[in-house]
Symmetry: C2
Subunit: 888 residues, 2 copies
């Protein structure tokens, strides 16, 4: 049986359905679904994603039989609409749009009004009775088609259009007449022929196949490839093509076009949120060129143009009813597009709406309350990575701030950065570690890479559903859009705010994406506040997950924050950060400069009480939860200055000669410190350092257990172990010190001694290490560095190139490389458990807070993940997803 | 049944035999064997190595039953000798010696003349009729026993002895009388009591058990531990204890003691080589205090004292006969010890003699000719590592040299270094990269670590069988011994040669271990000459091995040397060394400083013809054998200077500002260059570099194949691959360039493209890499660095500590870490072959020349190993050993 390549929809009947999203793309599947449930959808058909895949597999040729199927479906549309494609009297016009499995806003090309030519335009004039509309539609088609299908630079025709406006002495497109448009169509076509050496196609069939080819072609354009890369969409998914009969929102003042969300995508509020434009075509709303009007009165603000609820009350009532039908049907918040043609409402699209993290949480929790979904579905409805925005700091309400402008709160968050005016600058600056705010009049798909690189985005034009707003929300990035208060001057590399403030490239500004404020300079931020809905959701999350979530914390303060975020212990407490504290760095340096063990011991004696008080503080905050403390890890030279000036200054402070200090610095210099004299190698060559640390840990535990009734079980972790004898020697030393302290305090304190698995050799010989280690913590940062032979500090020169060029799917320092590093983690788990079945297994690399990596950790059977305090909720949610997905 | 702890030998009958070496130690087993085959051996018994092992397992307690067995065996000895232990009239005196499974010369403690006390000494006087001899034996016993068993510092009694000589106005021990010795015995005992607070034991039983305990105790002394570590002898082998009735070489001029080798241990010549001393005890020969006399006339030199052949002709004849018996019996060259007591010959030891590499080869080849052993046995008789000395350079015979002294040619080789006078200095200097010559009056076991660290050893005293000579030969280290031409002054840190030359600490001298010459300054060396025996042996070697041996060579010269050593191809040709050549470094730097791809290409165009001529030279030398060329590997900053001064000078040369050059150097700086922007990462970000190199390789191959009739198949190797897409991209690029060149020359040239496996991730994903790679070469240097997380450049601060303290058995950069890195190599082979069954597999890390690692490579089924030219014969021999051992 031949494959079916085309699926029809129209007049209440559809061959497709929502479940066929993989085959029909999101847009096509939902057009079919909406048709089936009786919503008013202009008739059309969908060419499947399989055709796209075959097209690329087959050297860009269409599969056999496609042509006939398209013809048959087009005939059906003609019959339903009572129009004929190419008919001079009553022509059918169609739109041709892409529609991939996953929504890719603004990424793919669209062609409207297809079927127009010098003959059929007469039919449109006859049918609509509006010559200006007809020629406006015609010139739009010529502009779009020449750009998207024929590959002609947009600016050339725009230039002709501007010339016409100048000639006519007008400023706006709407001021041009039918005659102007007609003339322009002629000029456009002549210019196209002149520029490209080929005529604009008059034959509607040729137009149609040109457009279908262009949609498939756009699947492989640079913007689409970039978007897929950023969003992990496989190239072989392909896109569908939707051919649909046109309806027009720009045939007069009883026409309109709009987009809406069934709930507020920014806050999640159960409120019909949308924007529309009277007498406009769809792309006018999305492109952000005209600032649109609200659809209803409820949130209308002073100065807003009239709401659709007032202007087109019947259509609004019908749309509001459809909103309810869609939410009940899809059981999720929908993002819809509609057009009103001469007072009749048409639905052009519905899809699950993108939303901010607070909105995602509120909608999920509300929908459970409303009985639409259950708790599991609610948990799965919130993407773990999305929580990141929620957990970012917001502006300190008590801080002084100079607001220079206000725009739309398009995507929440509070960020500060240096102003740049192009996407390329944003990317370049970010690569050198600068935090930047991308300021644009408006953004377009060409700006994606700059938006990705920037901390936040500020646009002068465009609404809440403009390109900038939608993409920023998708990225979880702060965005203030449609900020008419600023005038951007690209040439002068500056913008001027309404109050006269001039902000030049490189100046720092702060954006508040939650209220749309733009502030001069850097405004302090505060830790995020957790909402009630968030807490409700997290209670469900904790019901479903198996994996425990700990935190990486080095101070009582970090420990406290992490506890509030739900951390169930500390997976990594790095003691070296304590060494850097101002009150002890002098003693640390004294220890390093000591000539012999006695000198070192003397200095360590000074550090001991300070380390002990650190541990007391941390243990107290963690209230008996497990705390894994890593003994000193970095090479000693990290504690000494390296610049001539600093060495001189320190020499004076320390009372040694500059020469002595310099010699020490030189002696300690390493070519590859990452692979040098650090970790347990220090503990073995200078056992007195680890002895002091173990003593501090155990004295802290003994005192709290004895005097404050805690039952703390410290987990002492030995870093950078490569061979079991290192671990055995240091474990024996630690046990000796522990037992001495326990004996001295006369309390019974249990403790565990384990190791990091952060070198390939440790994973390879985990069976041997487990003879000594009571727990393993996978240090996947260093394990990634050594497995790849890749220094994180130096990778900046080529790793971005790797990710951009698909040499690596992901930055392996962000998402665990499952096929390489993951093999070692799996091996470490299996070998460790083979030797010691009850060995505790965890991960403390930064991957512990990355959702994809957390899911991997669940699968390989770790007991816990550990991550930075602010990522604890993300890890909890990812762990719940892992458990729920597993059950499916 | 209770274990048997003691084995008797005496009067032609023995309970042990040579095969029981593990149980009885080498010395004990061979004493038993010699007894059985009818050689004159003083009666005695051996306490087994199992007793030693149990002694240490059991908290230093002897197993039950040992005491009774020792008593019974002692009784048997008494009966055979007709003397009684402790008998005042006719006392039995015994020696107590250690004897481990492997020979450990000078490492273990020995006690002679045990059984003497104030009563029994009278019996010895009565029996020997020589009071002076008796008291001399007595005082020797007291000295040895107090040192070895009681732990008293030797110097204290030596001091008393010196005092006595002064008092008596004499210089030599031999000038002291019976009365003097008697008095000294008394003083010694008083001093021992005073110093240690305990009396010297009078009871012979107490003496015996004290001595047995001391031998077992010496198994764990520092010297023994160090020796075991250097020679990979497990601690749990234990030592046996040999208790044997004393015979005396110092009872008059019809007495003597000596050591001999059945063939010359230095050259392998079939000639009875030995030294003896008249009227001396055994340790006098070995300790090197008196310079001994030759045993026969054949090699007697002017100035030598009379040969034993002349002085004791009957004993010599008997000994010469025994030499033949032993060689036929053991089928190997023997190292023997003998004593002549009043004209009667006794054999005290035989063992396989240590020998130099040339001697090992000559003896093995001669013994095949003599029909004693077969070719396989001959191949196994030569230790691969031993060849190293043979393959070291010797002095250039045409070079001018200033010979300042001449000593004994104790261990061959030619070395140059800075003079140091203590073992500690030698070790310290070697650690900082200095090459040193250790100069001592004589060496003792305490000097082992310094001998190990030095390039060569020069001693003023001692013969060819002195401590220095034996140990140096074992280590394969150049040694000139017994050089009476120099006067060493430790205090002034200098020595004065006979010609008056003063050589101070830090001055450079050259030693020639083949003729005993000591030269001032550095004398140039030449590549070693291969002897006919060597060639004969290597023909046999090549018959038995399966593994191919290639070489690492970067120049035509290296390639030529390697071919002469039998290399079967080049396994690693590093192109970066070519970049450093004076005539091209300027162009390389120009390329690095270029602002854009055009500038880089321009500079590369200059390098292309030079690289091409390099490859032509190498291909010509290799005459069509496979050549694996690694594309550029090191980070670009390695080609730029880093010191302020050098940057300034280069800036002038390059015609750029200092600032520009500094910026470039700073921009290229890396924190961990080992893990940085190098290898294929360069090839991907600067594809024009690899394109140029591939072009140079292929043009060279095309020209030679076309014009000179070669059939060269270049193997292009892409370094530092971590993910398959790197390899795929670079392979596609290389194929494009290759095909372009081949097309241009119009010749058919095959080529292979493969990769190094030098990162853990490459080994872990070798199945994926093999989809692209036509060969793998395991780069075990970098693989060891990344698997251990250990920078070779920085490990100097702790790796020696690791090896010394047994944290690592071996330096993993010398011998492949089989349990860690080896797992990855094995995995890489298995996964690679699973994807591509005929994939070529080799190794090009320095482990390719290490015998233990070569055997591992054979076992995992590699096709070849590649090593430095001078190690090619070592690798060939090791490969043959691997194949022969496998068949066993």
């Amino acid at each position: 049986m031949a494959a079916k390549y085309v699926y029809f929809f129209g007049n209440g009947k559809a061959e497709g359905k929502a479940e066929l999203k993989n085959l029909l793309g999101g847009k096509g599947a939902n057009l079919a679904e909406m048709t089936s449930i009786g919503l008013p959808v202009p008739a059309g058909f969908t060419i499947t994603t399989e055709v796209c895949t075959e097209f690329y597999k087959n050297n860009q040729n269409y599969p056999q039989g496609l042509k006939a199927e398209v013809e048959a479906n087009l005939k059906q549309v003609e019959e339903l609409m009572g129009k004929r494609f190419g008919d001079p009297k009553n022509p059918l016009l169609v739109s041709v749009r892409s529609g991939a499995r996953a929504s890719m806003p603004g990424m793919m090309d669209t062609i409207l009004n297809l079927g127009l030519n010098d003959t059929t335009v007469q039919g449109v004039i006859a049918q609509s009775g509006d010559e200006r509309f007809a020629y406006d539609a015609y010139r739009r088609f010529v502009q779009m088609y020449s750009d998207v299908v024929m590959g002609m630079s947009k600016e050339i025709l725009e230039h002709l259009l501007e010339g016409k406006k100048e000639e006519r002495g007008v400023h706006l497109d709407t001021e041009l007449t039918a005659v102007d448009w007609k003339e322009l169509v002629g000029k456009f076509k002549a210019k196209i022929k002149e520029t490209l050496g080929q005529a604009f196609p008059e034959d509607p069939q040729e137009q149609l196949w040109g457009a279908i080819g262009a949609v498939f072609g756009s699947w492989m354009n640079q913007r689409a490839i970039t978007y897929r890369k950023l969003n992990n969409i496989p190239a072989d998914w392909g896109t569908a093509v939707n051919v649909q009969s046109m309806v027009f929102g720009n045939m007069g003042n009883d026409c309109a076009t709009g987009v809406a969300f069934t709930r507020d995508p920014s806050t999640g509020e159960d409120y019909f949120y949308g924007e529309y434009l009277v007498n406009a075509q769809g792309e006018d709303v999305v492109a952000g060129i005209r600032t649109p009007q609200p659809i209803n009165k409820a949130k209308k603000k002073d100065g807003d143009l009239p709401a659709m609820e007032d202007v087109l009350p019947e259509c609004y009532a019908q749309l509001a009813k459809i909103r309810g039908i869609l939410e009940k049907h899809y059981k999720d918040m929908q993002d819809i597009e509609f057009t009103i043609e001469k007072g009749k409402l048409y639905m052009l699209q519905t899809r699950n709406g993108k939303r901010t993290a607070p909105a995602a949480i509120k909608i999920a929790v509300d929908m459970v309350r409303e009985g639409l979904i259950d708790e599991k579905a609610a948990v799965l409805r919130v993407a773990p990575n999305q929580l990141d925005q929620l957990l970012h700091p917001s502006l300190d309400p008590k801080a002084a701030k100079k607001v220079i402008a206000k725009g739309l709160p398009a995507s929440p968050g509070a960020v500060c950065g240096e102003v740049v005016f192009t996407a390329d600058e944003a990317e370049a600056a970010a690569k050198t570690g600068h935090k930047v705010i991308l300021v644009r009049v408006e953004t377009s798909p060409e700006d994606i890479h700059g938006m990705h690189a920037a901390q936040g985005i500020l646009t002068a034009r465009g609404g809440m559903t403009s390109h900038a707003a939608v993409v920023a929300r998708g990225m979880g990035k702060c965005c203030v859009a449609g900020c008419g208060d600023i005038k951007v001057d690209y040439k002068a590399e500056q913008f001027v705010a309404k109050d006269g403030t001039v902000v030049k490239k490189g100046d720092r500004i702060t954006l508040d994406g939650s209220n749309g404020e733009v502030m001069l300079g850097e405004v302090p931020t505060v830790a995020p506040q957790m909402t009630g809905d968030f807490r409700t959701l997290m209670v469900w999350v904790d019901k479903f997950r198996r994996l425990k979530v700990r935190t990486n914390a080095d101070t009582p303060q970090d420990s406290k924050v992490a506890r509030e975020f739900g951390a169930e212990g500390i997976g990594l407490c790095r003691t070296e950060h304590m060494f850097f504290e101002a009150d002890r760095i002098a003693a640390v340096r004294e220890m390093i400069l000591a000539e012999d063990i006695e000198g070192r011991k003397k200095a360590l004696t000074k550090i001991l009480p300070m380390q002990k008080s650190d541990f007391i503080g941390i243990f107290r905050e963690m209230k008996g939860l497990p705390v894994t403390i890593r003994l000193l890890d970095p090479p000693l030279h990290e504690f000494l200055p390296h610049e001539e000036k600093d060495i001189e200054s320190l020499a004076t402070t320390m009372g040694v000669t500059v020469q002595t200090l310099k010699h020490k610095v030189e002696f300690l210099h390493e070519f590859n410190p990452m692979l040098g004299h650090r970790g347990c190698r220090l503990g073995l060559t200078f056992p007195e350092i680890y002895d002091m640390q173990v003593q501090a840990i155990m004295e802290a535990a003994c005192e709290l257990n004895k005097n404050e009734g805690f039952s703390i079980i410290p987990e002492i972790m030995i870093p950078l172990v490569a061979v079991v004898k290192e671990l055995k020697t240091l474990k024996d030393n630690a046990i000796r010190v522990c037992d001495e302290v326990i004996g001295r305090y006369g309390v019974k304190v249990e403790y565990l001694i384990g190791t990091m698995i952060e070198l390939p050799r440790a994973a390879l010989t985990a069976d041997e290490l487990a003879t000594e280690a009571e727990f393993f913590s996978f240090g996947t940062n260093d394990l990634t560095q050594t497995t790849f032979g890749l220094s994180r500090d130096d990778a900046g020169k080529f790793l971005p190139f790797y990710v951009e060029n698909g040499l690596l799917e992901e930055d392996p320092f962000v998402t665990l490389d499952q096929s390489g590093v993951g093999q070692l983690v799996r091996m470490g788990c299996e070998k460790g458990r083979a030797t010691r079945p009850n060995i505790k297994l965890g991960i403390c690399g930064e991957h512990g807070g990355d959702p994809a990596s957390v899911i991997f950790c669940h699968k390989v059977g770790l007991d816990y993940v550990s991550c930075s305090p602010f990522r604890v909720p993300i890890a909890r949610l990812a762990a719940a997803h892992a458990a729920l997905e597993e059950k499916k």
